[in-house]
Symmetry: D2
Subunit: 344 residues, 4 copies
């Protein structure tokens, strides 16, 4: 069985493990105050062209989203998200557990647009009973989205503009950020994101690390006391160096981009093979997740040799499925898959 079901089926990129070995006996202070964390911070600040950014390392996506959102909102405020956003659907109510509603906007592709945010904001404040409703308090987006789609620079600029006009911090979930940056269709750079968002995170777990997400805080108000919030949310690791060493390795000489580019290249090869067969796609993804719509019988056939995940039933005889690639995806396996697609 060759697995394409998700982007976390293997451990970490070899260079990360090697670095853990090399540094293992170093004695360092705990809780993210060690030199590896400091170096990783410096590399990331540089990559973001953001000297004033605060950088923190957390464990996983749910924890990171929760910590960021709970840091920003007052009790009567909610987080605006696409209806399909990770915080709206797949975090077992972690945001609500901190007391906050997720205010959802319709979206077919996982993205939300500036006008939608403006409309929701105006609808709230124009309602005479607005005090009876949750006040929008921040805007949450993912880049790329759960569906592999990406924001363009102009879309993010428009969102950022509306958010700043409305006083809504813009939070970007970058669990798969590298794959968004590596997308040929996206003109957004890390520096753009740092310039346009208030807080975002650079995902490690799904891009070569064992675990770990790097939070980048641009907004001074959010910086205040953030380490308390990490601790309260269970993210202040005693051996915080584990996260620092990984991000140091990923960002010191471009490994993060290398991994991301590889995965996106592999994904686009798969996409092309499907497209060549006239297969259509559930979402227009140019990142490491591809969502072809296939007849169920062909899926059963393919499923004998390859694992992928069932995404959505499209009609009685067709389903959308997800193929994922990662740092660990081998070109020879992709080529085998392509051969089999051709033969379908």
């Amino acid at each position: 069985m060759i697995r394409f079901e998700c982007d976390y089926t293997e451990g970490a990129h070899k260079r990360i493990l090697e670095r853990l070995f090399e540094t293992n006996e170093e004695q360092t202070p705990g809780y993210g105050m060690d030199e590896h964390c400091e170096k990783a911070r410096a590399y990331i600040r540089k990559a973001c062209d953001a000297e004033n950014a605060d950088i923190h390392f957390l464990v996983g996506g749910t924890q990171t989203n929760t910590t960021i959102i709970a840091s920003i909102l007052r009790p009567h405020q909610g987080a605006v998200s696409a209806v399909s956003g990770h915080i709206a659907v797949h975090e077992t109510g972690a945001i609500e557990a901190t007391g906050h509603k997720v205010l959802t906007l319709p979206s077919d592709d996982g993205k939300i647009q500036a006008e939608q945010v403006k409309e929701l904001y105006d609808a709230h404040w124009n309602d005479v009973t607005h005090e009876h409703m949750v006040q929008p308090g921040l805007v949450y987006i993912s880049h790329p989205t759960e569906n592999g789609t990406t924001y363009s620079k102009s879309e993010l600029e428009a969102l950022s503009k509306v958010c700043r006009e409305c006083g809504l911090p813009l939070v970007l979930d970058g669990a798969r950020l590298g794959y968004g940056l590596a997308s040929k269709d996206s003109d957004l750079s890390l520096a753009d994101i740092a310039r346009l968002c208030d807080v975002f995170y650079i995902g490690g777990t799904k891009i070569g690390a064992l675990l770990g997400e790097a939070v980048v805080i641009m907004n001074d108000a959010v910086k205040k006391d953030f380490r308390y919030m990490i601790k309260q949310n269970g993210g202040l690791l005693a051996k915080g160096r584990l996260l620092g060493i990984q991000f140091e390795t990923l960002f010191e000489d471009g490994l993060y981009y290398e991994i991301s580019n590889h995965a996106v290249d592999m994904a686009m090869m798969i996409r092309e093979a499907f497209a060549d067969k006239g297969v259509s796609f559930r979402y227009e993804s140019t990142t490491n997740q591809q969502f072809p719509i296939l007849p169920n019988d062909l899926l059963i056939e393919l499923g004998k040799k390859y694992s992928f995940s069932l995404w959505e039933k499209v009609d009685a005889t067709h389903s959308a499925v997800r193929f994922c690639t990662s740092w660990a995806t081998r070109k020879e396996n992709v080529e085998l898959l392509i051969e089999d697609i051709k033969a379908l």
Copy 2:
């Protein structure tokens, strides 16, 4: 500088890193459903002599305590703890953030006794205004405690008995459990703990792992839906194998005990050296943390060569400090320290 300030200054035991390397390219399902987690569970069940235990792997102590406690309590209930308990003092209000008060009992050595729990329970229910007060909902202890002290089997049996009579689940924080088991003075085994507690955890972070705590649930009511709670609290790692592989390594052939015994042996050597000089101790610890009370001028002297942590000012000229040992503590460094203690 030779460091004795805490038990998490280095990375992981070498065998753990090696195992991570060996297994790195294996493809496994996510979220703790892989074979390494399963094997680790089987080893731990056996070590606990508890075939029916549910075992889950979480990231760190704060997250683990929070997840367990929030799983058990109804909103109007609180967790009974020693006033110095980790959940009462050092988790930035993580328990309160889930809505629950920590009800504290006085304690000088970090332990609480069965009679104290009974008194607090009776005082609550005998008060005619008890509905105006937080109801005790569970009892939380640490073994060993923050102060290195341990419960004897008879103490834990008495606590367990009272808890069961009062309908209060007994939760044991085992962030340093191995060191408690390794203590020459403690007659408590893992199987005893499993028999006497409703939930406990076996600490990995401070005993040789990079990170990770293994939760052992004996009480059926607490087992229900626990994975939802892990997810909500940010502990369901995509690459859950990272935790499983570590606990598999620690428990497949006794590495956990080996590490613990080594650290305790080193600590007792240090203790003896201080005791031989007539030094007294803040707590009667027979585990990997030692708390000698020393004149401040000698501390300054020692501090030139060794790091340790300041625990408490005892009087104008004396302070209690903490020396910690771990898997990584080298005997030659301990011998150097002992020489210097002798020469004080």
Copy 3:
């Protein structure tokens, strides 16, 4: 200006105020333990044909819904509600503030049906990633709904059956329960509701009281420690008699029904007048709220003499508005309105 904008524009029914006067100097114990509360409980138990019901008196709807829901759910569970349900829209996130998501079902008329609940329940449990999503933990409905619509006995029986099969407590918000009972189209009695629901409340604020809601708990698990929950949620009034006296007055000889019938009669007169003019309605309400759809210019005309609330823009030239009646609605005012409707 004659006001029809809501059902709480005046104080309390005169008999309630009189009773407050008569009993004012009695000395009673606090916190709902007085004889008036006890009498009110007995009257309500009898009206519900439910000798084993626990009855508690709370202050208002938001507090009541929050207290009930927080009492029932575990942290990873959510409340299933119509998308237009009060808890989903108009309680400023009070449910989320207790840590719980509201899981919404589509609804045009404010009602939800048994099959919808079954589908949502099955969809949750059939999803392999269900632990990543909020688990449905109870079902919340209103009778009548926000839109004036009511459940039939067969609908409620079907809902109740599904809920019991799925282990989901059924919670009925009866902020306007009397008007539902008074509806000529609803065949549901208080005893039916008590038999079919796990918890419900009988609204006082909108049916003749100054304030107050009577919670009726049928499910033994929910009864446990409910007074703690009331206290924690700010509903345990020192002078709890204020609520007891009102419900005693409402239920000792049928005043609650008298008020409800009056209001519904007045509302149906208004409805008929609009219908006679060929006006259509946003919702098919047979209770004290009526939602005619009218041309905007006629609304401006009517608005000079009568207050009502704007509900929804229907198209460029028409809007749905809400007319409410209550115990305080005078027949002569309704007749004036009808004259003016006829003249439109």
Copy 4:
């Protein structure tokens, strides 16, 4: 049985009930936006000499404290309180239910002093692990306290000064504020309190109203969106006029002071009678609660004719008890009690 057990055994002052009758048929907007609320606000602003104060009316003490505290704190912050403070002991964890720890200071008489706050603040910030602990976020006091004791102007000035230096909003719980103002020993006026505190409330429930507390917000940051917070905490009454009318009545021509003075006069008569018999007191109260320490056999004797509440066992043969007075306490009953005290 003549009752002195608490200050809420009767209904409301007669003038309040009369006013409810007079205004009952007025049609007003809901949710505290009516003219009575506006008038009450104006009277209170004047009484506080605070033109810029925001005034809101809530239902009871627990709700009021919770709403204020949750409005102010960020998630990692706690409320500093005397160990005997109402929020620390008698609100069933309502503060913790909003996610916040109560940080307690020792106190024998229910008061806390400026130096204690400064020490706690310094201790927090001087601790190198402060991020692992709950950050002090506001200071909560009661005037008078649970024990009937009062702050002097110089004490409150000192507290206020320290709080402002430390950036900690000062919150004063005035559930019995009138009795503090009426105390012959207290030189604190409403205007002083408004000048020195960030938020406080003027209790109605225990001083002549059926229910209701008037929150006075001086600090602009706390004013923002406070009505959302009231709604979320269940305090935004549909018939908000019920609260406005009561406070209008209490403050339009000094009824609040009249009631308070009467109760304190009655309490001091009782105090004097006990003192004349050589009885000592648990607390030095000059307000409406008195805490004489009496031999248990005399208490049994007195208890045949008078109700009071048992406060604390002092030794094997003596107990402290509480006698309360209120607007409803009749002088003839106090005189009877005094006769009986003399005859003890």
